[in-house]
C-alpha cells in the first residue's frame, strides 16, 4: 500500500506547480492539470479502498495498516511527532469521500469558474485544500492531524476569500479563520493534556491499549470535578466543534457562502465540516472508555445544533445559506449519532457506524445540492430565492438531480439519505426516547425546508430574467449526474460490514418502526411544504410569518448568535482584557526594551572617542598606564 503516498504528494506538487508557474499557463490548461492530478488521486484512493476492503480480516476485523511512518520531531524518549499514513476503515472511507467530491468539484469548477480572474490561483488553492484534508484523514498521530487541521483552516481561508476585492468575502474568510482558530485553541490544549498523560501522540498506540495503564491512572486524577482525560477529550471536541460548526461556533459557516459556490460544496460536503466528526470518531475508543459523560454532552450539543440550525434554515431566503444551515443540522445528526453510543460493541456502538454512514451519504448529496445551487446561480446570477422560480422547464438536468438530492436528504427511501438517517434515528431512540423524538422532528424540519427550497426554485412564480435561463455546460452537469447516481445507489452499500465501532462486520437491519415513523414524518413535511410553496401565491407562509413575527424575525437574524459573539469579543475581550494588555505591552515591555537600546547607544557614543586612530594618543595612554602600574607595584613591594 506504499503507493498511497501519492494521494498526498500529487495535490501538494500540483499546488506548488500551479502556485508558482500557474500564471504562465492558459487557464484551461491549469484547470486541466489540477483536474487530472485529482482524478489520479481519486483512482489511487479507489484502488486503496478496494485492496483494503478485500484484504482478509484478522480476528474478524480489518487490520490497521501504517504503510509509511517517518519520525519527524523527537521530544522525549517516548514522545515523538511522526508524519505518516494510517489506513483503517474510517480513513479509507474518508479517502473515497474526499477524493470523489473533490474530483467532482474540480471538474465542475472548470465550467463554473470559466473566465474568472485568478483561475489558476483557484486551482492551486483547491489542490492545497485537498492535500490538507487528505493529510488530516490519513494522519497517524494527533499532532499530524493538528498540523493538517490548521492547513485546512488556512486553505479554507484562502478559498472563502477568493474574491479578495469583495469586502464581504474578506470579512467572511477572516471570520471563518478566526472562529475555527479560536476553537483550535481547545484542540491544542486537549492534545497537550492527553499526550502529557498518555505519553504518546500515536493513534495506534492510544487505541491498541499499550498505554491503557497510564491512562487509567490518569483517569483517576481529577480537575474541577472531571478526570483529566475527560478534560483533554472535551477540549479536543471543542476544536472539532469549531471545524464542524457546532453551536456556538457555527457562525462562520453561513458567512463562508461568500466564496465561490464549488468551494462551498467542497467545504460543506466532504472536507472541512466533517473534520470534527472524523476527530470524534477517531478518538471514539478513548471517549467510550474514559469519558462517557463527555460523549453524552456531545450528543446534546449535536442535538441542539441540529434543531437550532434546522429552524433557521426554514426562514432563510438565500439558497446557499439554507444549504449552509442544513449542513450544520446534518453535521449535528452525525455528532448525535456518535454521542449516543454507549459501548464499543457493534450493537451499543450502532451510532458510530450510523454517523460514518451518514457522513458518507451526506457528502454525496450535499455536494450535489451545492453544485446544483451553483448551476442555478450560474443561470440566474442571483442567490436570492425570490429571483428564481419556475426554473424546471429551463434546467431539466439540474432540476432532476436537485430533486433526487432533496429526496435523499429528506429521508425518502430508496435514496441513500434514508438508510443512513434511519440508522441514526434508531441509535438515538435506543439511547433515549427524548433525543429520538427530537431528531425525528428535526428530520421532519429537514424535509420541510428542503422542499421549501425546491419549490421556490423550480416551481412557483416565474421571475423575469435578463436572459432566459439555460442548462449548464457538460463540465457542470456531469458532476451533478454522477453524484445523483451515487446518491441513488449509496444506500445499498453494506456499510456496516465495512465500518463499525469495533471493526467486526455488522449487518444493517432496518428498524421497521423507526423507519416507518421517519418516512411518515418526512412525507407529511413534504406535503406541508407542497401546500405552502407549490403555488405562485404563498398565503399560508406569509400569514404564519405575520402571526409569529417575533419568532420569525429572530430566526431570520439567526437568533442573534452573531451579535452575542460580537458583544463578547468587542465589548468584553477587546475592551476589558486586550486593551490593558496592549497598554502594558506598549508602555512597560516596549519601554524597557527601548531603554536598553537607548542606554547602549549612549554608552557607545560616549566611549567611541577612545578609538580615535591617533597613535600618539594611544601611546600616551599606554605610557600613563605603564607608569601607574609601575608606581603601584613599587608601592606594593617596597
Amino acid at each position: 500500500m506504499e503507493f498511497t503516498i501519492f494521494i498526498l504528494l500529487l495535490p501538494v506538487l500540483m499546488f506548488l506547480f500551479l502556485g508558482l508557474a500557474g500564471h504562465k499557463l492558459k487557464p484551461s490548461v491549469a484547470g486541466l492539470c489540477g483536474t487530472i492530478s485529482l482524478g489520479t488521486v481519486a483512482v489511487i484512493s479507489y484502488i486503496t479502498a478496494f485492496q483494503y476492503f478485500t484484504a482478509p480480516r484478522v480476528n474478524g476485523v480489518f487490520e490497521t495498516l501504517v504503510p509509511l511512518n517517518m519520525e519527524w520531531l523527537r521530544l522525549t524518549e517516548h514522545l515523538h511527532i511522526d508524519l505518516g499514513i494510517l489506513l483503517d476503515p474510517i480513513s479509507v472511507m474518508m479517502l473515497v469521500v474526499v477524493s470523489t467530491v473533490s474530483f467532482m468539484v474540480h471538474i465542475y469548477s472548470m465550467g463554473y469558474m470559466k473566465g474568472e480572474k485568478g483561475f489558476q490561483r483557484y486551482y492551486a488553492f483547491l489542490s492545497l485544500f485537498t492535500f490538507s484534508m487528505m493529510g488530516l484523514v490519513l494522519a497517524t498521530n494527533i499532532f499530524q492531524m493538528y498540523i493538517f487541521w490548521e492547513l485546512v483552516g488556512v486553505s479554507s481561508y484562502l478559498l472563502i476569500g477568493f474574491y479578495f476585492t469583495k469586502p464581504s468575502a474578506v470579512a467572511a474568510s477572516k471570520k471563518a479563520f478566526i472562529v475555527t482558530r479560536f476553537a483550535d485553541l481547545g484542540f491544542l490544549a486537549g492534545i497537550l493534556v492527553l499526550s502529557f498523560f498518555s505519553n504518546t501522540f500515536s493513534f495506534t498506540e492510544l487505541m491498541n491499549g499499550s498505554c491503557t495503564s497510564v491512562l487509567q491512572s490518569a483517569a483517576g486524577q481529577t480537575f474541577l470535578g472531571g478526570s483529566v482525560i475527560a478534560w483533554g477529550l472535551g477540549l479536543m471536541f471543542m476544536g472539532g466543534a469549531g471545524k464542524s460548526a457546532m453551536f456556538p461556533f457555527h457562525i462562520w459557516l453561513p458567512d463562508a457562502m461568500e466564496g465561490p459556490t464549488p468551494v462551498s460544496a467542497l467545504i460543506h460536503a466532504a472536507t472541512m465540516v466533517v473534520a470534527g466528526v472524523y476527530l470524534v470518531a477517531r478518538m471514539f475508543p478513548l471517549f467510550i472508555d474514559y469519558a462517557p459523560d463527555v460523549l453524552a454532552g456531545i450528543a446534546y450539543i449535536g442535538a441542539f445544533t441540529a434543531l437550532f440550525s434546522a429552524v433557521i434554515a426554514c426562514v432563510q431566503t438565500d439558497i446557499k445559506r439554507v444549504l449552509a444551515f442544513s449542513t450544520i443540522s446534518q453535521i449535528g445528526f452525525m455528532i448525535v449519532a456518535l454521542g449516543v453510543c454507549t459501548g464499543k460493541d457493534a450493537h451499543e456502538g450502532l451510532g458510530y457506524m450510523a454517523s460514518m454512514f451518514h457522513l458518507f451519504t451526506h457528502a454525496m448529496f450535499k455536494a450535489l445540492l451545492f453544485l446544483g445551487a451553483g448551476s442555478i446561480i450560474h443561470a440566474v446570477h442571483s442567490n436570492e430565492m425570490s429571483d428564481m422560480g419556475g426554473l424546471r422547464k429551463y434546467m431539466p438536468i439540474t432540476h432532476i438531480t436537485f430533486l433526487i438530492a432533496c429526496l435523499a436528504i429528506a429521508g425518502i427511501p430508496p435514496f441513500s439519505g434514508f438508510f443512513s438517517k434511519d440508522e441514526i434515528l434508531a441509535a438515538a431512540f435506543k439511547y433515549s426516547s427524548m433525543i429520538g423524538w427530537l431528531m425525528t422532528f428535526v428530520a421532519g424540519l429537514t424535509a420541510f425546508y428542503m422542499f421549501r427550497l425546491y419549490y421556490n426554485i423550480f416551481w412557483g412564480k416565474e421571475h423575469k430574467h435578463e436572459h432566459t435561463p439555460h442548462e449548464s455546460p457538460l463540465t457542470m452537469s456531469f458532476p451533478l449526474m454522477f453524484l445523483a447516481a451515487v446518491t441513488v445507489v449509496a444506500g445499498f452499500i453494506p456499510f456496516g460490514t465495512l465500518v463499525s465501532s469495533n471493526g467486526e462486520a455488522y449487518h444493517i437491519h432496518l428498524d421497521i418502526v423507526v423507519a416507518s415513523i421517519s418516512v411518515c414524518v418526512a412525507v407529511i413535511s413534504i406535503i406541508i411544504a407542497t401546500i405552502f410553496y407549490r403555488k405562485e401565491e404563498q398565503p399560508i407562509p406569509d400569514m404564519l410569518g405575520k402571526k409569529f413575527r417575533s419568532l420569525h424575525t429572530a430566526a431570520t437574524h439567526r437568533f442573534y448568535i452573531d451579535e452575542v459573539w460580537m458583544f463578547i469579543t468587542h465589548k468584553i475581550i477587546f475592551r476589558c482584557i486586550s486593551t490593558p494588555i496592549a497598554w502594558f505591552d506598549r508602555h512597560v515591555v516596549d519601554g524597557f526594551m527601548n531603554f536598553l537600546a537607548w542606554s547602549t547607544q549612549e554608552a557607545s557614543f560616549s566611549i567611541r572617542g577612545f578609538q580615535s586612530g591617533r597613535v600618539q594618543q594611544y601611546a600616551y595612554v599606554f605610557l600613563i598606564g605603564a607608569l601607574v602600574i609601575i608606581i603601584g607595584l613599587l608601592l606594593l613591594f617596597i
Binding site: 586612530g613 591617533r614 601611546a619 605610557l623
Partner: protein
C-alpha cells in the same frame, strides 16, 4: 680613567625619554619616526653597555644591538614607504590630517 657605567645610562635614559617625548608630541610623521629611532638607539646603547660591564667575555649584548640596528633599518624603510604613500594620497604627512580611518 675608566668611564663609569652610570654615565652611559644617563645618556641612554635621556635619549629614551627624548624619543618618547618626541613620539608623543611631534606632529610630523617623519619626526615621529626619528623619535622611534632614538628610542631604539637608547636601548642599543644599553645592550652594549651592560654586555661590556657585566659580562665582558661574552658577546650576546653586542649581537642584540646589531640585530636591533638591522631591524630598525628595515622598519625605517617600511615606515618611509608608508609615509610616502600617505603623502601621495593626502598631500600631507601631518598626523592630524590622517583621519580617514578614525572611528
Amino acid at each position: 680613567m675608566e668611564i663609569q657605567v652610570e654615565y652611559y645610562l644617563i645618556i641612554s635614559t635621556i635619549m629614551l625619554f627624548a624619543g618618547v617625548f618626541g613620539f608623543l608630541t611631534r606632529k610630523n610623521t617623519l619626526a615621529m619616526l626619528i623619535s622611534v629611532e632614538l628610542i631604539l638607539n637608547a636601548t642599543d646603547i644599553n645592550f652594549a653597555v651592560f654586555n661590556r660591564y657585566l659580562f665582558p667575555e661574552q658577546l650576546e649584548g653586542h649581537f642584540f644591538a646589531l640585530f636591533a640596528i638591522a631591524i630598525a633599518a628595515a622598519e625605517t624603510a617600511i615606515a618611509i614607504a608608508i609615509i610616502i604613500n600617505i603623502y601621495r594620497n593626502v598631500r600631507s604627512i601631518q598626523v592630524k590630517d590622517l583621519e580617514e580611518m578614525k572611528h
